[in-house]
């Protein structure tokens, strides 16, 4: 899956389902401090990712994923 396609899918669910404002979705945006994604939101993101990308996020793999760009890369690494 191309990175552009992943970005499109991730941004779509972040806007539509997590209700994050679209103009905040920048590669360098911090997931927690920048986008306001808290631990409960992340539970829902785990569910959405599994349903959309077919794999389960493991918390230990997310320790170095701080920005939205790193999150796109993490998904790309799992699906490709």
């Amino acid at each position: 899956m191309q990175r552009e396609e992943i970005i499109e899918k991730v941004n779509h669910f972040l806007v539509e389902e997590i209700e994050i404002e679209e103009n905040l979705l920048k590669e360098d945006a911090l997931l927690k401090e920048g986008l306001g994604i808290d631990s409960l939101d992340f539970v829902d993101i785990v569910v959405i990712v599994e349903k959309n990308f077919g794999f389960k996020i493991k918390p230990e793999e997310m320790t170095n994923v701080k920005t939205l760009g790193q999150f796109y890369d993490y998904i790309a690494g799992k699906v490709n």
């Binding site: 209700e19 409960l40 939101d41």
Partner: protein, 406 residues
């Protein structure tokens, strides 16, 4: 001892989505009961239910608040928001003053069943999502309302079967009377989803009069064949009288008396003695006599046994005074955990507008109801003091006496 008054109320039920719609339905004797076909597919004996439309909360509440709200919590939000507006309370007031919340709720079955279904499908509890735990607990309504409205006073849910909402108001009365709180949001909430009522249907408690749904709920009538489940939510703002006067609040009524009892007997069979004790205690607590009661909003759900036992108790206490009685469950169905609160809102609307809503479908009395003055047509009547009864499984009984402030 401090006096406790109602300074705001809100309602969301099968009779309407706000006070004005519900007042009109009550006056018109309009039933909110219909058929939900999926109940038959699921295996219910009866597809009859109060028809309550889910509110659209997107745009009214943020995502986190919506994700954590179960169906009954959505109704409770709508009723509470209306009650606060009605009381002239805004978010600024709630942030500066300590306000409590006590709601009656005794299940959140849909959330529990859906979480179980997800676990069975994925073999992974995380797939239940972040809202499941907050939707699944009995205290879902109060935990959500306290978060949404930034409430910092007493915060808990009362689970007492079909008397839950009434006990919630009774306990709110006690918290304020005793000086522990100045203002408490009290109410009751009831889920209506088909996943929530199957076990109740399973014991044969529901009417199967499907040929004419609006005739199915017929409390006290000789030909009743069971109750119809309903739901939604109701809220009242309880407040210390002096506190209400000081802030210039419009006072709707006084919560004058609360009576309670437990039958200590059969889990499903009511008791004329137990319910009578609750009524007598409420009258005594309010400092009134049976002859002072202008109207009784009966618990009567349209079951054979329940209505008969309540009729016996009412006959014993009120027949000498020919007190007008109606069960609004004839129009709403049995709103279960919510009923004790919604019936206070319904009765307050009657008191404010000087009418008694009819016990529709009461056509022929039985041997127990024949001595009672059951109102089956809308009656224009001034109400200064009324009694509201609520009884539940396990023999829990609650009665409230409400008075006009003069």
């Amino acid at each position: 001892m401090r006096r406790v008054v109602i300074t705001g109320m809100g309602i969301y039920s099968c009779l309407g989505k706000n006070l004005d719609e519900v007042r009109q339905s009550l006056y018109a004797g309009k039933s909110g009961i219909g058929i939900e076909p999926i109940r038959t597919e699921y295996g219910y004996r009866s597809p009859l239910t109060g028809i309550v439309e889910r509110p659209m909360l997107k745009g009214m509440l943020d995502r986190r608040s919506r994700v954590c709200l179960a169906e009954e919590g959505e109704y409770a939000y709508m009723a509470t928001a209306e009650a606060l507006r009605n009381a002239g309370i805004d978010m600024d007031y709630l942030e500066k003053n300590e306000v409590g919340v006590l709601f009656g709720n005794d299940s959140s079955a849909k959330a529990v069943i859906e979480a179980h279904t997800t676990a069975m499908q994925y073999k992974d509890t995380q797939m239940m999502g972040s809202g499941a735990i907050f939707q699944s607990m009995n205290s879902t309504v109060t935990m959500n309302l306290s978060t949404i409205f930034k409430l910092r006073g007493i915060n808990m849910t009362i689970s007492a079967a079909c008397a839950s909402g009434s006990h919630a108001i009774g306990l709110g009365l006690m918290f304020i009377r005793n000086g522990l709180q100045d203002m408490v949001i009290c109410g009751g909430a009831q889920e209506t989803h088909y996943l929530s009522m199957g076990s109740f249907d399973g014991i044969g408690a529901f009417s199967v009069r499907v040929d004419d749904p609006t005739k199915a709920s017929r409390p006290f009538d000789r030909d009743r064949d069971g109750l119809v489940p309903g739901g939604g939510a109701a809220a009242v703002i309880l407040e210390d009288y002096d506190h209400a006067v000081k802030r210039g609040a419009h006072i709707i009524a006084e919560v004058a008396g609360y009576g309670f009892s437990s039958n200590g007997a059969n889990i499903s069979q009511p008791s004329d003695m137990g319910s009578g004790i609750a009524m007598e205690r409420a009258l005594k607590d309010a400092g009134v006599q049976a002859s002072d009661i202008d109207y009784i909003n009966a618990h009567a759900t349209s079951t054979l046994q329940g209505d008969a036992f309540e009729a016996m108790a009412l006959d014993h206490l009120f027949t000498p005074y020919h007190t007008p009685i109606s069960s609004t469950k004839s129009m709403t169905g049995h709103e279960c955990w919510m009923a004790g609160a919604s019936e206070i809102v319904y009765s307050n609307l009657m008191m404010l507008n000087s009418f008694i809503a009819p016990n529709i479908n009461f056509e022929n009395p039985d041997e127990y109801s024949k001595n009672l003055n059951i109102v089956n047509q809308t009656m224009e009547k001034n109400i200064d003091t009324y009694l509201s009864n609520s009884f539940g499984f396990g023999g829990t009984n609650s009665a409230l006496v409400i008075k006009k402030i003069k």
